[in-house]
Every structure is written in C-alpha cells, then in structure tokens.
C-alpha cells in the first residue's frame, strides 16, 4: 500500500478536497502542484485565491497561502511581490474574478508587466453560486440567469488571453490550456512560472475546465463540452511566448 498520487506540494490533511466529482478546476490544481514540485520552488511560492470555487483551494497546498476578496487577488499579490520580490506569486482566480469584477486589475497588471503568474479557470459559468452567466458563457449556453440560453445582447464570450495579447509586453507569457490535457497544461504552467522566476514578465494561463455539476452533464458530456465546444470559441495554445522560454 503506497501513497495516493498526490503532488508532493499537496496538503494531505485537506484531502479529499472540497471540489465536486469530475471538476476540471481541481484537476488543474493537481497539475499546478506537479509544476511547482518539478520546478522545486515550493518554499518560495505564495498561492493566493479569489472568491468562487477557487477559494475551496485555500488549504489545498503545502504552500504559503492567502484567500482574498473577489477580484482583488491580483492587486494583493502585486503588493506582496513589491514588498518581497523574491517570492513567486500565483494568483489563482476564476472567470468572474478575472474577467468581470477584477478585470481592471488583470488589464493593468498586464499593461504594467507585473512579474506575477495568474492562472484563470474558465468553466463558462459562475459555479460556486450555482451556475450563473459568466463573461465566458457561450452563446446559447443555458445558465440560471440565462435560462433560455445566452443571447448576443448579453455580450459575446470574453476572450481574455486574446485581449491580454494586445496590451501586454513582448516579455509576457500568455497561454490557454485545458484541464483534460495533463502534459500540455503542465508545460504551460511551468513556462508561466519560469517567466516569473527569470524576472522576465507577466504570465497568464487560462484553463478550460469541466464543470459537470453546473453544466448538468455527465463525465463524458462535460469532457466533450470542454474539449469540443469550448475550444471552438477559445482556441488552445500559446498566444505569446518569449524566445528564452520556448
């Protein structure tokens, strides 16, 4: 009988973790844990979470961690980094924290080339509060506040990395991955963190994540929705990658 397949950076005491069965966000957190483990930066990382399902990871890791107010994770880690520059700061947020209530902080962080790493979970809804419309909800997608499906008058899906590409520095790292592709996402997380370790610039990874509970889909259907439907609107890949990281 051996140990479960946890990254060494996972806090065993808080397991099984609080995420729903089949949650892409928790899968991303496992992959992030592996990235931190492989980069050997566990003692240097500050893991900051927002409000929403991300706050369920407040004690996920054996890392110095802090949970903040909705949308304010980025300014908090920016202030921390300015005060203690040797820290590797990670802002772990959702589509609300990044693209709605905290959008101006994300934008300004990119335009300021803050040497921080932001990981944003895109599950196309506001999950913790029961599945409302999010900036990333697809057109036609049903949520509790768009019961007939999202209409164009409510805006079109928010493409975060694409926006950041326009306003960020050339030394920034921007990518979009998917929770169900372990190897690719692991590479993206490591590059993003490396960009901060090297002191080069801002790094951002959006992760498409399954949310079977609020999508009201089973495991197969939720995998399909993220891998086949969401990728039509949110293409996977690196949008910006400094040469030294390639």
């Amino acid at each position: 009988m051996s140990e479960p397949a946890f990254p060494s950076t996972w806090n065993k005491e808080s397991k099984p973790h609080k995420f729903c069965p089949g949650c892409g966000q928790s899968l991303a957190l496992k992959i992030l844990g592996v990235a931190i483990q492989e980069l050997k930066i566990q003692n240097e990382v500050l893991f900051a979470t927002d409000i929403g399902c991300s706050l369920l990871s407040w004690d996920m890791f054996n890392l110095e961690s802090v949970q903040t107010h909705h949308g304010r994770t980025i300014p908090l880690v920016r202030g921390f980094k300015l005060a203690r520059p040797e820290t590797i700061v990670i802002g772990f947020i959702g589509d609300g924290g990044g693209y709605a209530i905290g959008a101006q902080h994300l934008l300004n962080s990119a335009t300021g080339n803050d040497k921080i790493t932001v990981i944003l979970i895109n599950n196309a809804n506001y999950a913790m509060t029961g599945g409302q419309l999010a900036p990333t909800t697809l057109l036609g997608q049903k949520t509790t506040t768009t019961p007939l499906g999202r209409k164009i008058v409510q805006g079109h899906p928010f493409k975060g990395p694409e926006m950041l590409k326009e306003v960020s520095f050339e030394s920034a790292y921007l990518a979009r991955g998917i929770a169900s592709n372990y190897q690719e996402l692991l590479k993206m997380f490591k590059k993003a963190l490396q960009n901060q370790i090297d002191g080069r610039g801002f790094s951002f990874v959006e992760v498409l994540a399954m949310c079977p509970v609020n999508w009201h889909l089973d495991a197969q259907e939720s995998l399909d929705f993220s891998e086949k439907e969401m990728t039509k609107i949110y293409p996977l890949g690196e949008l910006k990658c400094p040469e030294k990281l390639s």
Partner: protein, 277 residues
Amino acid sequence: MPRKIILAGEGGQGIQTVAKIIALAAIKSGKNVTFLPSFGVEQRGGVSIVFLQISDKPILYPRFAKANILVAFSSRAISPLKKFLEENSLFIYDNSVVENKFLEKIKGQIKNYLAIPAQKIGRERFTTKVVNMVMLGGMAANLKEINFQEFENALLEELAEKIKEKPEIKDLNLGAFKAGLEEVEKFDQETQPLEGVAPASFKCFFEKENLSWERFPEYCKGCGLCLLKCPVKCLSFEKENVGFLGMPLPTVEIEKCLGCKQCMEICPEGAIRVEKQ
C-alpha cells in the same frame, strides 16, 4: 405537536430535495411549514443541513435548538447533528453508509432509531442518484399526519422538469421511495442494534509483470473520468465496493492495462497510482 426535523449529509446527496418534498406534502395536508437550508460554500461535498418544521400553528422562527426527528445521510453528518438530540428524538440513518466509528460518538444518547440501508438499495436495485428517495420513504412512514398520497404528488411535482427530460427517472424515484417505506415495515429496533458499516477492506492493489495499478477509495468520488480516458477500456465501476461519499469505485482488468497512466493523469483526486518499470 410540532415536528422539528433536521436532515444532514453531504452536499449533492439530494437532502434539500427530500426536505422540499416533505414540506410540499405537509402544506397540501393543511400544515404550516418552514424550511431553512444551512450550507457551506461548496456546491458538493460540504455539510448540507436542513431545518424543517411542520405544525398546525404558525411557525415564527425557522431554526430550533432540539429536534424530534434527526436524519443522517452520511458519516460526516453525525457531528453537526449531535447537539440537536434530545431524549426522545427519533434518529434515522443510512446504515449502509454511516461508519461505526462515527456512530460511537452518539450511540449513548439515542433511545429511538431507524436504520435504512439506502445506499445499498439504491446501488443494487435502482441507481445511486435516488438514494435520497429511499431515505424519504423512511421519513414518510414516521410522518403519519401527512397524507401518504401527498408525498407521491409532491415528489412528482418537485421532479417534474427532470422527469420531462428523462421520463425513465419517474419510476426510479417512486420505486426508491416505496423501497424506503418497505424497509420501515421490516425494521425492528428490538432486534437490530444501532450499527453502521465497518470501514471496508478490499483489494486496491493490482499488479502484473512490471506494472501496478492502485486505487485509493478514501479519495475517489466516482466521477468516471478515468473510465473515459482509458485507451483500452480496461476500467469499469464495481457493483460492490464504494469510494468516498459512497460513490461507485473503478476497478481494473489488469491483464489489459498498458500502464499508459492516462487514468492517473486525469484523476482530479489523485486516487489512482500507476507504476511501470
């Protein structure tokens, strides 16, 4: 005499639905009702508690200090329920899920109890999604002041939308409800001790030649992603053993396993370990 019912279990077990059905049935039977959920932030897996009151008189305050009926859907429900016990409370619990070591904490204080193997019945005869309806049967049998027919009506009303989309669930839910009622008929406190399940001990480590596949039931939530990602479809859900939250547990046909580690990678819980030399 006013009923003060407290239900507790894991978020996602359908406790709110069951309490709602009782509330609707009570209203149709001319009773006053208040229903107040108390839950943590998680969508699933946090503690879910419902305060339910049924009375002939108007009810002014939805919460209460002591309950006359307590219903435990999971092991972790025992701790929050403890303080609501009073001398003559009726304690209803799922004895196919609640572990003995949790019952130890509360045993001495209980005089009246009802054990229903709801998870087992759900798993063996229906689906795990209707386990809550089996428990509903147990509760309905002890709420004689509510017309029995109203329970069925309320159940169908509450699930109307879902039944429209998937008509087959109607019989599953009603069947589970009836199964719960039957259990109450069979139950005899004199002969059945206040016991639950012992933690299971079953095979978790599978190996062949230079390859091993190991599962960790205490972390597995039965999401099924591993089954989907296996390129040779050598994983399947077991009938017998269960993981955390009483969810179905995957097992492996080790002879077919390639050791590709897809299942290990996709598991959000870290509940599968594959080693290959």
